[in-house]
Subunit: 393 residues, 2 copies
Amino acid sequence: MTWSFLRRYARRSERFLIGLMSGTSADGVDAALVRISGSGRATQATVQAHRTTPYSEEMREQIIAVASGYFKTSGISTLNVALGHLFADAAEALLEEAEMPLSMLDAVASHGQTVSHTPWAEPHGATLQIGEAAVIARRLGVPVVSDFRAADVAAGGQGAPLVPYADWCLLTHPTRSRAIQNIGGIANVTYLPARAHPQDVMGFDTGPGNMPIDTAADRLTTGRLHCDLDGRMAALGTIDSDLLVRLLVHPFLRMSPPKSAGREEFGEEFVKPLIDAILARSSPTSARDLITTLTAFTAYSIYDAYRTHLPAMPDEVIVGGGGAHNPTLMRMLRDRFEPISVLTHEDVGIPGDAKEALAFAVLANETLLGSPGNLPAVTGASQRVILGKLTVP
Amino acid sequence: MTWSFLRRYARRSERFLIGLMSGTSADGVDAALVRISGSGRATQATVQAHRTTPYSEEMREQIIAVASGYFKTSGISTLNVALGHLFADAAEALLEEAEMPLSMLDAVASHGQTVSHTPWAEPHGATLQIGEAAVIARRLGVPVVSDFRAADVAAGGQGAPLVPYADWCLLTHPTRSRAIQNIGGIANVTYLPARAHPQDVMGFDTGPGNMPIDTAADRLTTGRLHCDLDGRMAALGTIDSDLLVRLLVHPFLRMSPPKSAGREEFGEEFVKPLIDAILARSSPTSARDLITTLTAFTAYSIYDAYRTHLPAMPDEVIVGGGGAHNPTLMRMLRDRFEPISVLTHEDVGIPGDAKEALAFAVLANETLLGSPGNLPAVTGASQRVILGKLTVP
């Protein structure tokens, strides 16, 4: 293959890419087959098929071992190649499921597996994603864009979040302003004014997502449940307004963006005193009410974040991530945001579970067209840069 | 920058690249500024300037720690970025020395620092070079080709040696067959028949290089000397023919190529019994004669390797690597090969110390022109592949 494929790629009215993503929880590989045309705000992308290939328990343990400490250097090198093969397996399985011949595929976008992310390190920030692109290119016979975060970090950015640019490409509306609200462990928003230019986009962590709810559910059921499945516990309780008011003065919520939260702010340490108070019966709140109140905390903190930090309330909110599967949380968001519409990704034609894999396909499309894919206002980079490394088969 | 630079690159009659290389000894970064035209066997390349930027002792220790065992994953990630900056420093210093404006530079070829190389691993071979290309691209503002070995390993090859392809590009002669003999710790040859096609090229380790000589010099001077500088000790002794005959039946020398040797074959373990015999006065050989005999061992084993494994003796031998700086070794080679000419790289217009950095610039030139850069007969790969990943600023 020669580089002339780049010209052919640019000329094609419709392109097929596979986006491959594995999150820090290291559950498995999310793969999305994406049909894409145009670029930038004119991007049209539809997910043709998507699937999650779970990691084996052994692979997951190895990734977590590498990501959380010391490891044999040769082990990291062989894991890099093993993950390349797993990513290629995931892409092949997806093509088979979609009954899409390999010859129709134009490129693969591989985020890889993050094993270290220290953009704040001195004297130079760093980030490391593994999953050898040369293996994927070799196995699938198409160009691979990989290693999206390094260029943004090299330009002084945090290398994250990168999804807001894809949100801008896909979800900017000609007349309505939108907040794209992802609710994972932590919740984050991309704010897209109507007809936004890239520099108009805002993105930051709004605060708690599912993490406090999941942590409390786990503790209160002594590990029987790892989350409040379908928001069932939250649906049965009532909000403890006094507690909710106390939670909503959390210092993170007052900080101005750009800001990002983690396990430190809303994990064990945050939840423990609340649980302890219930177990010691020194709190009037019941276990069930605590789950309900923490669910409301996530919903209200999102609303407060918009009121405090966005230039204007959006015309609509589009929710994604695990939180979109929690009907109690969704109901609370709708109540709070009324009359602003609170939609899911599915409501705008995007399968929520494939969102990140789709986003990296969109970012690879920009890279293959020679366009930058970061948003300096969001990542803190000194300028817009072309993301990723290109490997050809 | 958009991908159209690839078209401009291909059209340019003359291109300027910087090759960056750091060997496994982790001494520092070799940088070569190369003026290059053509491609494949029509490649014309001249080294305009070259320099070695030594690593600080601290950096060297960190690289060796990473390469030889366990390390913090975040430490590998920050080392990857730190090396990217050191490579960029080396390139900038070279440009300054050469009084070459940055705007004249077309691309950088960065081999990186090998921290793991296990191409024989099961189920998949692996290799890992670090030195973040996104940092180099950002700092110098030109495209960077990096990570040359991964694609060959992904194609089932050893990912090494890669220099033979560059030898073929630069040194194939219209009428004379040539052996390009590198003498590092281990010695290896690239055999180029006259007017060779890529598939005619052979490359393999001939056996001992400087390693047995250096190891013996170090042991016999109890560490006062780390090598036989300028072959001075070897020049004073005489060859012990009985010992030389015994050394030349080493099993490695009888193996058929492809083959590669290491510290296991010709390091401490190989030299120790020879030294012990001298120290116990149970050998008739003097210390000085041992150095002379080991020097002859390297020279003779190269000659024997050609006689045994090459389809025909070359018309000329072109020596490079540290061994080319050992006049005693060069004299022995010339005696042994008479009437075949034994030349140095300098004799054919290539500064020997810049050879590897030059070779990777030549390989990057192939990559940027969309041509493969490995030789399956040499690396064991199942086919020719385009080497490297491309990062644009």
